[in-house]
Symmetry: C2
Subunit: 115 residues, 2 copies
DNA sequence: TCCTATGCTTAGACGTTCTAGGCATACTAG
DNA sequence: CTAGTATGCCTAGAACGTCTAAGCATAGGA
């Protein structure tokens, strides 16, 4: 399974992470699995992308981090959204909509919807 | 006008260019304006992105290039799609659909369509 | 003559993702 | 007891594509 995973377009991971954290605080590993789950294995983000992304977001004040213990008694750094992060999520989602809409106009020319 | 242009997500320009060329052969400057036109100024690709993209595509054998004279008597390098380019366009469009669909699943959770 | 639109080129900065390695612990099977 | 698997984190570097910013050249209009 999952051999048909696709790469994440550069610039979209931050938005995806923020969105996952909007649902509920998560640790890096959890975010990765959540993305996989939500997209039926289409999105499988590498750890080498996920953790640097979380650092970026943390440095920008968009997420907070705190160490906790999971059910399995393992330590995990739980990230949660800050107010600034919530704002940024809105911006990035809006950007995504604008961009994907623009791409849509190019690759699937509007066929003059039937009246 | 046009101050609300957005950046092109890295990895999508090739697809956009191939798509424009599928309609009809164009030169770099023309492709840029065509993208702008089709997307109501949302997509304004810089020359510094467009020409390197065309070189990439040419090196990969996805487009052909030939010098012509335009209406205005100016020289212009006209690019056209090769069969390989057409195939690649299909691949990239399919990738885009898969990716944007996956993103959609994350950022706009399905609200359990009403029965 | 100057300015704008057209049209191409290219070096370098920049940011993001991936590759690929490392580390540590909990639990299970043998 | 020991090996393997799943969990969980870290990071250096390569790879890649887009943008910034400069330069060049010509046509046509003011």
């Amino acid at each position: 399974m999952s051999r048909d995973a696709i790469e994440v377009l550069k610039g979209t991971l931050d938005m995806l992470v923020l969105k996952i954290l909007e649902d509920e605080p998560q640790h890096g590993y959890g975010i990765t699995r959540r993305l996989q789950l939500l997209t039926d294995d289409a999105l499988q983000v590498d750890e080498g992308s996920m953790y640097p992304a979380l650092y970026r977001l943390h440095k920008r004040g968009l997420v907070e981090a705190e160490w906790f213990l999971t059910d399995g008694n393992r330590r995990a750094k739980i990230y949660s959204l800050t107010p600034a992060g919530r704002t940024q999520l809105c911006k990035e989602a809006a950007y995504w909509h604008r961009f994907s809409e623009a791409v849509g106009k190019v690759i699937s020319p509007v066929p003059d919807a039937a009246p």
